[in-house]
């Protein structure tokens, strides 16, 4: 094979991997939107918050150290322990469940039957709140995350691909980050688990019933409040997974919350209510973005990745307003 083709394959592979990362975030959006019709803008910040909490627990940071020191004049920083990654993950999960419970009790409960736009605004408010709260709790410095996921290029794969090229060319082998491969595997497992959960468990059925019609679900005795806590907990779990992956890749910092913005075009492409849509949409956006950066970027001066995905999604919407997997809309009066 010629290096040109191999480079193209490398670009596409990396695009697919990047796409998986987008899908992970998009998945959280889809879950909440399906179950409650809420467009949860805070999904990205939830991922940030989960990652911050994970690192904080793992390295034994004192929560709110900065605040306590400023108010009481103390000099606290660390409990001085290091938790194993597994325990920290469990601890973070508990925090996310607690968060889901509190959010339901303090906010959602009072906003039942409000218009979608109001709920959407509430999640933007939540995004602000959680961002400030996370920084206040764990500090706003950049943290590195290490939960034992391998990272860096795979030498084995480099050697394999090197063998495909004719001897003597200046090709160095294909670069694939092992972290990305792990993320892809995790994403696949996550989707399978979620699908099984929603298709074959009692809770999953209740969830789908609520998604279809709140009132009807209520009338057959499904507790809306329990469902919401469960859904937001699951979304918190997905956020944690996304937070771990993105955090391991590029450090835990504020910019992590911006991946939510990356996931939005994925959503309009895949449809707000479709889990396969989130995955396929993510892959399309990932590949499209990488290709655009290499083939379109130089023509217009680079840095196109900020908006390219949006333009692709928009162009797509003009032809298929319901997204890739959304149901066809028949308007009736």
């Amino acid at each position: 094979m010629s290096p040109v083709v191999l480079n193209l394959i490398e670009t596409i592979l990396n695009g697919l991997m990047a796409g998986v990362m987008y899908s992970l975030v998009a998945l959280g959006f889809v879950l909440i939107f399906k179950a409650s019709g809420i467009f949860n803008f805070a999904q990205g910040v939830m991922a940030l918050f989960a990652a911050l909490t994970l690192v904080g627990l793992q390295t034994g940071q004192v929560p709110f150290a900065h605040l306590i020191n400023a108010v009481l004049g103390t000099n606290l920083h660390s409990f001085g322990w290091t938790l194993p990654a597994f325990a920290a993950v469990i601890g973070t999960l508990l925090v996310m469940v607690l968060f889901a419970y509190l959010f339901e009790a303090l906010v959602l409960k009072h906003l039942v039957n409000q218009e979608p736009i109001i709920l959407f605004m509430a999640t933007i408010g939540l995004a602000y709140f959680l961002e400030g709260f996370g920084d206040l709790m764990w500090g706003s410095d950049v943290k590195t995350m290490d939960v034992g996921i391998p990272s860096g290029g795979s030498f084995w794969w480099e050697d394999v691909t090197l063998g495909w090229v004719a001897e003597g060319s200046d090709y160095y082998g294909m670069y694939i980050d092992r972290l990305d491969v792990v993320a892809a595997v995790v994403a696949v497992v996550l989707v399978i688990v979620l699908t099984i959960f929603s298709q074959y468990t009692r809770m999953g059925r209740a969830l789908r019933a609520v998604a279809d019609d709140h009132q009807a679900a209520l009338s057959v005795g499904i507790s809306l409040r329990t469902i919401w806590v469960v859904v937001w907990s699951i979304a918190g779990f997905v956020a944690l997974v996304a937070g771990i992956m993105w955090g391991s890749k590029s450090g835990v910092q504020f910019s992590l919350s911006l991946i939510a913005l990356k996931a939005l075009p994925v959503l309009i492409l895949g449809g707000f209510t479709s889990i396969p849509g989130a995955i396929v949409g993510g892959l399309i956006i990932g590949v499209g973005e990488k290709l655009a950066e290499i083939y379109v970027g130089p023509m217009v001066g680079g840095a196109v990745e900020n908006w390219f995905a949006y333009v692709v999604a928009l162009a797509f919407l003009l032809f298929r307003p319901q997204g890739l997997f959304g149901e066809r809309i028949i308007e009736r009066v």
């Binding site: 467009f39 900065h66 605040l67 400023a70 906010v107 009072h110 906003l111 409000q114 218009e115 979608p116 736009i117 109001i118 959407f120 605004m121 509430a122 933007i124 408010g125 939540l126 995004a127 602000y128 709140f129 959680l130 961002e131 400030g132 709260f133 920084d135 206040l136 706003s140 913005l261 939005l264 075009p265 959503l267 309009i268 707000f272 217009v300 001066g301 680079g302 840095a303 196109v304 900020n306 908006w307 949006y310 333009v311 999604a313 928009l314 919407l317 003009l318 307003p321 997204g323 308007e331 009066v333």
Partner: protein, 358 residues
């Protein structure tokens, strides 16, 4: 006992439709206007004008614009920051390209340019609705900011990528530029906002306003009643962008004096504007002002309390600030989803009946 409508009879449809149907309210309004035009420029010091009054007016203009689109026509937009950038850069290009042009005309033209861009990015609204549209408007936000960053022509090839407002005068008084007195910028803003708030009120009470609201409340029925979605939505995008563009131009020329696109017109500005219209009240002119006041003043107040009074470090205060703003937004949505304007209306209802509520 001042707030009474007894004896204030309406004998014509015109009188029934006026903005302030109650006489005392009308007097109060004009007294307040006289105060802002004739008294405030003389008594307000530079700090008040620069960090409170001018930004308040500028953001009121933006909020008015977004309220027309989101509050009246029901189209959620997250591209406000991008449209403000269009206004600001159009203003800069016009100011530097045509130095003899009056600043008011420049600002109006900047609004017109933005209206054109707004219509362009409003086109998807004919096909897609709701959150899909909101996400689509993000495309405008990111694309426009990228464009103003990337193509040096827009900032006249300046090395820093910044645009700086040159000095312009009105009636021999400097209103823009580094040496312009703050009160002059304040008065210029006030005139623009006063005139266009009135225009917004006029537009929203007539046929166009009704067609927007019909689109918002039930688009299919509106179409069947003969409201053209093409016309209603695109006119809302155009007029809204006109206001937002003027707001951006004012922000750049009258308030900041210099701007860098990613910093001054980033995505968080789009959110701020949306907060203003939601907290102030969707579909309310007064609400646009109240919301702008809240979002502009509240952080200033918080910062003064936490840094100035408690003596906390500024980064800690900043964390607290976004946390409290976020929390307050949720709080407001729970307590009064129709915004401050609705609270004001309820207060007036109570006042009308006071002291005998039944």
């Amino acid at each position: 006992m001042l707030y009474r409508e007894a004896g204030d009879f309406k004998t014509s449809y015109a009188a029934d439709q006026q903005t302030f149907p109650i006489k005392s309210e009308r007097y109060l309004f004009w007294a307040f206007m006289a105060f802002t035009f004739l008294v405030v420029p003389f008594i307000a010091d530079d700090y008040w004008v620069n960090s409170i009054l001018v930004p308040l007016l500028v953001w009121s203009m933006v909020a008015l614009g977004l309220n027309i689109l989101t509050g009246y026509c029901g189209q959620v937009s997250l591209g406000t920051g991008g449209f403000m950038a269009v206004g600001a850069f159009a203003c800069y290009k016009l100011m530097t390209g045509f130095p003899e042009l009056n600043i008011f005309i420049v600002i109006l033209l900047s609004g017109a340019v933005t209206a054109g861009v707004g219509v362009l990015f409003g086109l998807p609204s004919l096909r897609i609705k709701g959150f899909y549209l909101a996400v689509a408007t993000l495309a405008a936000q990111f694309f426009l900011v990228w464009m103003f960053n990337k193509f040096a022509w827009f900032y006249n090839y300046s090395a820093s990528g910044q645009i700086t407002a040159p000095t312009r005068t009105v009636f021999g008084i400097e209103v823009t530029g580094p040496s312009a007195p703050p009160w002059a910028a304040y008065l210029a803003c006030l005139v623009l906002v006063f005139v266009f708030a009135w225009v917004a009120r006029n537009l929203t009470r007539g046929r166009i306003g009704r067609s927007w609201m019909a689109m918002r409340d039930m688009d299919i029925a509106a179409e069947i009643m003969g409201v053209s979605p093409l016309y209603a939505k695109l006119s809302a995008f155009a007029i809204s962008s006109f206001y937002i563009g003027m707001g951006g131009a004012m922000l750049f020329s009258l308030y900041l004096g210099a701007a860098e696109v990613t910093e001054a017109f980033g995505i968080e500005k789009s959110f701020s504007a949306l907060f203003m219209v939601i907290i102030g009240g969707l579909g309310s002119i007064l609400g646009s002002f109240l919301g702008a006041a809240f979002i502009v003043l509240f952080p200033v107040l918080l910062k003064n309390i936490m840094v100035g009074y408690f003596g906390w470090p500024t980064d800690l205060a900043a964390h607290f600030q976004i946390m409290i703003v976020g929390g307050l937004i949720i709080f407001f949505l729970i307590v009064e989803p129709h915004g401050l304007a609705q609270l004001w209306r309820l207060t007036k209802e109570k006042l009308r009946l006071w002291p005998f509520p039944y």
